[in-house]
Symmetry: C2
Subunit: 161 residues, 2 copies
Amino acid sequence: MPESSKHELDAPPWLRVESTLMSAARGIRRAYDRRLEELGLNLSEAILLAFLQEASPTAGPLMQVDLARHMGVGRAAMGSLIDSLENRGWVERHPKANDRRVWLIAITPSGDQAASQITKIDERLREELRKGISRKERRELNRLLNRLRENVERVISAESE
Amino acid sequence: MPESSKHELDAPPWLRVESTLMSAARGIRRAYDRRLEELGLNLSEAILLAFLQEASPTAGPLMQVDLARHMGVGRAAMGSLIDSLENRGWVERHPKANDRRVWLIAITPSGDQAASQITKIDERLREELRKGISRKERRELNRLLNRLRENVERVISAESE
DNA sequence: TCCAGATAGTATGGCGCCAAACAATTTCGC
DNA sequence: GCGAAATTGTTTGGCGCCATACTATCTGGA
């Protein structure tokens, strides 16, 4: 086997997987940010609002720290994401009855409407992004990414002790 | 994460795959940045140096724009990555014979040494990150991410016309 | 009861990356 | 040949996110 194609069939070294992942992440953010520009949103804000629309009916309003954990961002970043959505009137901060430290984040009717527009934009874009990727592969991708995320989480929390 | 197992059998909507991917990317960067801190490097610089070590023997010195394309970053970002490696004496900019616009980037002996240390750090960390992910799955993950990256690339370049 | 520690959210400073504008140089059409 | 267009690399301004430190509040043990 020629040296050049040897790596093609091989399992790639991890650093190469991570390199590809970082690159894909940057590209996805750029692509979504452009499409979402008409709504005045970036990808993180859109993901958050879509999640709130999806989760609110069953889970009710959530604390900022829960949302941060769900999205894998810090509390400070989540705070400014919510600031931004709140300024547009798409979410509201409600005080919690027995704990004056926390805010409960609730999606508003106009936020719900915006989330539906996000879904439409997402549908159009993802149609182009999933070319050559089957439903089964998408599921597999999601599964592996989640496992990777769990491992990362474990490494990071083990390190900060 | 009890609520994600509910969707495990389902093919997740794309926005959720992307959300997971962005989160994994943030976590990976954080984990690597901490481990690489002892070398004074961040993940992007490490990936670039490792790539130069791997590619230089066969491809020779490369132009900045080629490196940028390979890593999926802009030309400006690549410029500052190279500045940083050059300041540490790990790469050198050489003029190209027939084109005075470009720099050819070559790894130095001490850069090669640093790249080997990067590889060691990567080996230790990836051992923890690949828990529960088989060799075959790793290859599959890399394949799907590459396809995703190609699709992203196509979308973005089609849009800027 | 009371105080030490934990926890939610905010403010601040820094870093990585992008987009756009720019300068230098090459390339291509006429 | 010559000028317009394209290409390489840099500069600048802005944004997203992190880490840290801080405030306010809750909780649990002596």
